[in-house]
Amino acid sequence: MSNTLPKDFESFSKARAQGFVKMKELKESGKNVVGVFCTYTPREIFLAADLVSVGLCSVSDETIADAEKVLPRNLCPLIKSSYGFAYTEKCPYMYFSDMIVGETTCDGKKKMYELLGELKKVHIMQLPQRQDDEQSKDMWYKEVLLLKERIEREFNVVITEKNIKEAIKLENEVRVSLKEFSELSKLVPPPITGLEQLKILFGSDYKFDVKEKIEEVKNITKKIKTDYDNGERKVNKNLKRILVTGCPIGGATEKVVSAIEESGGVVVVYENCTSMKKLELLVDEKEADPYRAIADRYLKIGCSIMTPNNRRLDLLSSLIEEYKVDGVIEMTLTACITYNVETSTIRKFLESKKVPFMTLETDYSSSDTAMLKTRAAAFIEMLG
C-alpha cells in the first residue's frame, strides 16, 4: 500500500490549514462569514446570501483544558474543544465568523451555545426531535425562514428566489460530487484507503469557492477511477471492508481509522456526518417553495438526536450492501448520550442482520491508541 498521498490529495489535506489564509483574504475583500456546527444547518441560505460558511466542529484536544475552566469535564470532547477554540480565540475560522448558527440538537451543544453567545453572535435554530409528522416539518420550515430573515437583516442583503434556487443547485452538485467520490470505494478492492477518503471529505469543507470545489472533487474522482481502470491497485484485496458509523470523525479521532487500517481492515464508507449522513439526500429542485424543499431535505437527516432514528438503520442497511461491508465499527465520543444510548439499538439491528459489529468509545486524547488498535485488530481477526 502506498504511503504517499497523491499530489491532488495534498490540496485537500492541507485545505484546513491553508483555509486560514484564504479566509483572511476573503474577509479583507469584504466577504462575511457564518460559522456552523451541524449537518442540519441549511448551507444554501448562506450561499444564496453570498456568505462564506465554514464548519466549526473542533477536532483537536488543544483547547479542552481551557474549556474545562467553564464547562464540566464530563462533557463531549467535540463540544468542549469547539467552545475552547472560541474562548481562547485560537481558531481562525471561529475568529473570523461574523455570526454562528447553531441548533438545538443535543443537550450539550444547546447549553454550550448559550455560553458561546457571550463570546460571539449566535443564532439558534430550534430543531424538532421528530422527523415524520407535519407539526415537526412545519416547525422546521418556519425556522428556516427565520434564519433567512436573520441573515438578510444581519448582513443587509436580500435573498431572491433566483439566489436561493441557484444555491440549492450548487449545494446539490457538491453533494453529488462528494458522493460519487465516496462511491469509488464500492470497488473491490477499493482504490483508496479510508484515511485518504477522509482527507478529501473532511478537507472539502474548507474549500470556500463552491464551484472550484465541485471541479476539484470531480477531477480527483476521475483520476482515481482512470488509474484503477488501468490496473492500479493500491489497496490489498484481502483487507476486511469496514463501515464506520457514529459520531463525526476527523482530526484527533482519525486514530480510530488508523487503528482499523493498521490491523488488516480498510474503511470503505462512513455512515456518519463526515460523509453519507450529509451526502445521501438532495434538496428537491422541483419543489415550488425552495425553503420548503430545503427544510424537508434537512429534517430527514438520520442523527441520534432524533427520536426515533430510523433513517440511520435504513442508511446502514443500504450502505452495508452497496459497499460489500464485512463488519461495522462504531465510534462514539465519551459523554455523547444520544449515540451511546443508541448503540444498543444498532447492535440488536446488526445482530439481526448477522453483520459483525463493535463499538469503540473514545475522546480526543491520544492515550488510548494502543487500546483502540487491540480492539480493532481483535474484531478484524474475528471476521476470519
Binding site: 488510548d368 494502543a370 487500546m371 487491540t374 480492539r375 485488530a377 481483535a378 481477526e381 474475528m382 476470519g384
Partner: protein, 267 residues
C-alpha cells in the same frame, strides 16, 4: 509446500508478552512440548528473547525449524516473530485447545481483564477493561502486599465467604480502605476474601453482557488460575461454572502457536 517441508517437522513458538509476565510455549506440530515464563523486565523484547532461547536450548531445536508468533500487549515489539495476533484471538484458541467444550474465557491479567465469548470454535465477542486496575492482577498484588500474604497461602487460609466488603472499585481508593480495615484489626484473610470478591464482582459485571449457559464451562486464564479459592469465589459470584487448567497461564501463547500451526498446514 515442497518435499522438504513435508518430511521436516516444524516447531512453533508462541510468545505472549504481557505487561507483567512473558510466557512462551514450544509446539512440535500441534503438540505442546515445553513452556517457559519470566517476569517482563524493563527491556520487554529482551524478556521475549530470553524465553525463546531458553526453550530452544532446552529442547535442542534449531532456529531454522521454527515459526514464531507473538501476542500480548507487547506483541508488535517482538521483531523476531513472523506474525502477531491479538490476545483475544490467542486466548480463545489457546483456551479451546485446553478444553474444546468451553463457552467463554475470563482472562485476568497483570494490568487488564477481559472476557471472551466463544462460539463455533472461535471468539465471537469480547469485552476488555484495560483502562484501570480494578479487577486485575495489579489489584490483587497490591492487596497481597498490604496484608503481607503470599499468593500460595490464599488457598490455605482464605475462606470463600467473607464478612468484609470492599466498597471502592478503584485500586487506589481500595488500598486506603484495606489499610483502614487493617487498623480496625480485621482478620487479614477475611480482608483478602473481600478483595477477591471485589475482583469477582468486576468479572460478573463484565460478562453480564454475554448470553451464557449454565451447562457449559468458562475457562479462567491468567496468573490467578493457580488459586482454587479464587476460582470458587468467581464461580459463586458470576453463577456460571468456572474451570482452570494447569496451562491456564499459557493460554495466550498456546493460542499463538496453534494459530500459526493452523495457518502453516493450510499452505
Amino acid at each position: 509446500m515442497n518435499m522438504s517441508d513435508i518430511t521436516e517437522s516444524k516447531y512453533f513458538v508462541g510468545i505472549d508478552l504481557g505487561s507483567t509476565m512473558c510466557k512462551a510455549v514450544l509446539f512440535l506440530e500441534n503438540n505442546l512440548v515445553d513452556k517457559e515464563i519470566v517476569k517482563t523486565g524493563y527491556n520487554h523484547v529482551a524478556s521475549a528473547r530470553d524465553v525463546f532461547s531458553t526453550l530452544l536450548k532446552r529442547n535442542n531445536v534449531d532456529e531454522k525449524n521454527i515459526i514464531v508468533s507473538s501476542t500480548g500487549y507487547g506483541r508488535e515489539l517482538i521483531d523476531f516473530a513472523s506474525k502477531s495476533y491479538t490476545e483475544i484471538t490467542c486466548h480463545s484458541l489457546g483456551a479451546l485447545h485446553l478444553d474444546s467444550s468451553i463457552q467463554a474465557v475470563i482472562d485476568i491479567g497483570g494490568q487488564d481483564m477481559k472476557a471472551i465469548k466463544i462460539e463455533d470454535g472461535k471468539a465471537q465477542n469480547f469485552i476488555m477493561n484495560d483502562k484501570c486496575a480494578a479487577g486485575t492482577g495489579r489489584f490483587l498484588a497490591m492487596a497481597l502486599e498490604k496484608l503481607e500474604i503470599q499468593f500460595e497461602d490464599i488457598d490455605k487460609h482464605v475462606e470463600i465467604e467473607s464478612s468484609i466488603k470492599i466498597n471502592n472499585t478503584c485500586a487506589v481508593f481500595a488500598e486506603s480502605e484495606i489499610i483502614s480495615l487493617i487498623a480496625q484489626n480485621k482478620n487479614r484473610y477475611d480482608i483478602m476474601s473481600g478483595v477477591i470478591h471485589s475482583i469477582a464482582l468486576k468479572v460478573s459485571q463484565m460478562i453480564s453482557k454475554f448470553e451464557l449457559s449454565k451447562d457449559k464451562n468458562i475457562l479462567l486464564t491468567g496468573g490467578l488460575y493457580a488459586s482454587d479459592i479464587i476460582r470458587q469465589i468467581i464461580e459463586n459470584t458470576i453463577k456460571y461454572r468456572v474451570i482452570t487448567s494447569k496451562y491456564s497461564q499459557f493460554a495466550g501463547s498456546i493460542g499463538a502457536a496453534i494459530l500459526t500451526y493452523n495457518n502453516h498446514i493450510k499452505k
